[in-house]
């Protein structure tokens, strides 16, 4: 086996992850719910823990369904806790609470389990090098479905993300559409965290979208910038991890950070400030 055969699935995985996350990242950044992926990932992990306690294998379909069910619960909480700026409680507070409580409950559940639950701790770490082609194919199909779903209802999702008041004025059922948004988001995050770990997923979600916001305000342009950056930087990160003999996931995240820093400098030096 050559290094190319080993790195290719990891690189393709980063491309697939960039594809969906750079898009969802636009919504997440616009809504100001930056840590929603960590929160959903944690509640999904709690679902797997419960499935494990009930006697299901950790990587079985049943465990996946449990983690998905818990993710839906999280989606419902986020949709219902949306407070329309009527109270001063920010959405991010609810997200933080869900994260902390589900992480703590997972620890409590594990401490009462009678055997080998220790590796549940590692569920959120993920090793992008150990992704397999069948796993990638499944993930790609799932993301494509979510992508199509979002494409069909793009006007509604985007309106709610970008201009909530206008959406309200048009009489959209915001809670319902929010629920659908977080459910689809949960679908994506549950599988991507299993592949790449929380750190890398967070990076794919936020960094391309933020970088694009530095240079453009139109959605199409932002997506194009985000995808291009995601693909190039992932390739650079995977390459760097090989050349410098570093853990691949962390190397990609580091490269994303570096790229954002460089591009922010470039923008400051050569571009006029864009109108928000």
């Amino acid at each position: 086996m050559s290094i190319f055969q080993l790195l290719l699935p990891a690189f393709v995985a980063s491309l697939i992850l960039t594809g969906i996350h750079a898009y969802l990242g636009v919504h997440v950044v616009e809504r100001g719910v930056i840590f929603v992926d960590l929160s959903l990932a944690q509640i999904a992990a709690l679902g797997s823990t419960v499935a494990y306690l009930l006697g299901h294998d950790l990587h079985s379909t049943a465990a996946y369904l449990y983690s998905l069910g818990f993710t839906f619960l999280g989606a419902a909480i986020f949709a219902l806790s949306r407070v329309h700026r009527k109270t001063r409680i920010p959405q991010e507070a609810v997200i933080g609470i869900v994260y902390a409580v589900s992480a703590a409950v997972a620890i409590l559940v594990m401490s009462k389990a009678t055997q080998e639950t220790e590796h549940l701790k590692e569920m959120l770490v993920g090793n992008i090098l150990s992704v397999t082609w069948p796993e990638l194919a499944k993930t790609a199909v799932l993301y494509a479905l979510v992508g199509v779903f979002h494409y069909i209802f793009r006007k509604r999702f985007l309106l709610i993300s970008m201009d909530e008041q206008e959406a309200e004025r048009q009489g959209l059922n915001i809670r319902f559409w929010d629920f659908l948004f977080y459910v689809s988001f949960g679908f994506v995050v549950t599988s991507s965290v299993a592949i790449a770990g929380v750190l890398l997923v967070f990076c794919f979600l936020i960094v391309p979208s933020v970088t694009a916001m530095l240079f453009a305000s139109r959605l199409g342009t932002r997506l194009a910038i985000g995808w291009t950056m995601g693909a190039l930087v992932s390739a650079a990160g995977v390459g760097l991890s090989f050349v410098m003999d570093l853990p691949t996931g962390a190397a990609i995240v580091g490269t994303f950070g570096l790229a954002l820093l460089l591009l922010a400098g470039v923008r400051k030096a050569f571009f006029k400030p864009i109108a928000a």
């Binding site: 620890i107 401490s111 090793n127 691949t248 996931g249």
Partner: protein, 306 residues
């Protein structure tokens, strides 16, 4: 003669009643393995409590309030030593406010003293070497010969703390050693056909087990715990398994199987979950069934390879 027997029995009953009414020696251990051996040697004169359960990674144990309570009432604390417990135990000993179990006092027993410790660094240990145990590999109890050393050390210390039980401890130790001798022969016989088998392990937890049963460890999946291996290292591991025809990867139960399963899938080796401690599964009730279970798991995987 006919009369003496009932009288003797009555005395024996009285004696056993007397000893049961006495307070038992409270023995706290860091590992269930040490608790199992201490229980075997101490018999009904001691009660044991293990802090780390066998299914937990013994390096990282979440302290619970009950730990401090147990330590505060303990007469004897037995640790694996070699800094295995350094991450959680020292503050607990302080909090327990129990002078008896402080290092240096008779109520503190470092079970590694006298055991055959492998990988003692011969040069100065620095942080640059990563997660190296500066006093040698702390997983020494995975060699049954070291279990014998530990049992003797525990018997000696129990005798020192509880002179009245000297005879009982000697008798229990003799029984434990006799059983161990018999089991060692049985285990060696089972493993003999596989002497010299090359294995890859997830972490460096198995040098004593490998030495005891003549396995050759040729590599590790994740050289530094918690840090995913780099692509180059992963590739080296896969190629190593293929070129050296390594049949099995030994994995501790508390690590995620994703990476070892992936390497196994690419290289054709089989993943074997090997339990490093008593209590790793409910089936591993004592020090003997630890080896029974691990050796059977190894044999089952090797049979599958043929």
């Amino acid at each position: 003669m006919k009369r003496t027997l009932p009288i003797l029995l009555a005395f024996a009953a009285l004696a056993s009643f007397g000893s049961a009414a006495e307070a038992k020696l409270r023995v706290v251990t860091s590992l269930q393995d040490l608790a199992s051996i201490a229980q075997a040697v101490g018999g009904d004169r001691v009660e044991t409590f293990a802090l780390a359960k066998g299914y937990q990674d013994p390096h990282f144990v979440d302290a619970k309030p009950s730990f401090v309570l147990q330590l505060s009432r303990a007469d004897l604390l037995i640790v694996a030593g070699l800094e295995l417990e350094i991450g959680y135990l020292p503050p607990l000993i302080d909090q327990s406010r129990n002078d008896k179990v402080h290092p240096g006092n008779p109520g503190y027993l470092d079970a590694s003293v006298g055991a055959n410790i492998l990988q003692r660094p011969t040069t100065q240990v620095t942080r640059a070497m990563g997660d190296v145990h500066p006093y040698g590999n702390p997983h020494y109890w995975t060699d049954p010969a070291n279990g014998r050393v530990v049992a003797r050390a525990i018997a000696a210390r129990l005798t020192q703390l509880d002179a009245a039980g000297a005879a009982a401890y000697q008798k229990n130790l003799a029984a434990f050693e006799a059983r161990l001798t018999q089991k060692q022969a049985e285990w060696q016989a089972k493993m003999a056909p596989y002497a010299g088998t090359k294995v890859v392990t997830f972490h460096d937890s198995w040098p004593n087990f490998a030495k005891a049963f003549k396995l050759v460890i040729v590599g590790h999946v994740e050289p530094k715990p918690g840090i995913p291996p780099s692509p180059t290292h992963t590739l080296e591991t896969i190629n190593l398994i293929q070129t050296q025809k390594v049949p099995v990867i030994l994995v501790e139960p508390y690590f995620d199987r994703k990476t070892p399963d992936y390497i196994a899938g690419k290289s054709g080796a089989a993943v074997v979950i090997l339990y490093p401690s008593v209590g790793g599964t409910p089936a591993i009730k004592d020090y003997f069934s630890l080896f029974d279970t691990d050796i059977d798991a190894f044999l089952a995987a090797m049979k599958g390879k043929k």
